[in-house]
Symmetry: C2
Subunit: 198 residues, 2 copies
């Protein structure tokens, strides 16, 4: 019954994680009843992010600047590097404010099933960061899944002869758990109990 424009907006919103068709309709009503206070600010915020969205050439984070805010932050400990599968994992770890160093986003995990090989991930870029020196510790913060752990082992092997300490998150992570879904307490515990890779 609504106009094509309103239907299109409802559909676009209902595709967001966490919003179904019903809550999308409520969100649209909220927006159209508050054209100046809600609709215009949300449209402007999307516009600003869309215009400036970029991928960090150093770490692979997605941000509105390159290098990203984390890589440019002088208060970050440049000697510690946390390697994660996805940008979502970086955000989950950073939200917990527990890791004082920088990050490296692989852009996925090794997967025979999905045909993801080492060259499909930013592993070579990681090696070049390590070879450039100045990094003392690499924390492998892969998901506690089979593919995540395979990826961690592969990277640990490649780093083995470098003069860096390689650790991984303690297996306080529930089996099959994905970082981005865990509460901060669990992530904190796993990070505190991180241990050298055998």
């Amino acid at each position: 019954m609504a106009s094509p424009e309103i239907e299109t907006l409802t559909e676009a919103l209902s595709r967001l994680p966490g919003l179904g068709p019903r809550s999308a309709r409520r969100a649209v009503l909220h927006l159209i009843k508050r054209r100046e206070a809600a609709l215009a600010p949300l449209r402007a915020a999307l516009e600003a992010v869309e215009a400036r969205l970029t991928s960090c050439g150093i770490c692979g984070n997605v941000d509105t600047s390159d290098p990203c805010g984390i890589c440019r932050d002088p208060r970050r400990d440049a000697r510690a590097l946390c390697v994660v599968e996805e940008v979502a994992d970086l955000w989950a770890l950073d939200r917990a404010k527990l890791f004082p160093g920088r990050f490296h986003v692989l852009g996925g995990r090794l997967s025979a099933l999905d045909g993801v090989r080492p060259e499909d991930l930013s592993i070579d870029l990681l090696m070049r960061r390590l070879e450039a020196g100045g990094i003392d510790e690499v924390v492998l913060a892969m998901n506690a899944t089979l593919e995540g752990q395979t990826t961690a082992h592969y990277i640990a092997d490649r780093i083995e002869r470098m003069p860096v300490r390689v650790t991984q998150l303690a297996h306080g992570l529930p089996v099959g758990g994905e970082l981005d879904y865990l509460d901060e307490g669990t992530i904190a515990q796993a990070l505190r109990a991180r241990r050298p890779v055998a």
Copy 2:
């Protein structure tokens, strides 16, 4: 840690009903990982609605055209008019696809507490629609709240001497219930069992 633009977007999204801070962050990640497939379409949809959003001069519905899609729809029964408090109620009733007629949005309910008087609602406009003739039945679809029912009685009194049948939704509505929060089955039952105002 995110850039100001990303923080602003997260905040704008977290103000939508149904999205808290955590799901807003997930939504932002979803959007920035899908710049072309999700971010741009949502931004464009908001832009289109914002540019064309208007209030229907006939019924008070919010739409991207004036008259609105419902008032312009020739398949709608122009002899039946359903009076509701808010645009959200119109949408809730229309979603159930049970009322074949048109609507009239009052823009609120009479309230001594909030100082809402008859002249603050579009009741005079409703009277002019009825005086223009061609309407056989007016369904008063106010919320089953004290203020909603006070409003319904006030309007029923004003219509009393006009040659129209005045009905109201059956009190299958739960006491204190607001239309916009009810499932379609409950609304359907209440609409089917509507009865003449005593």
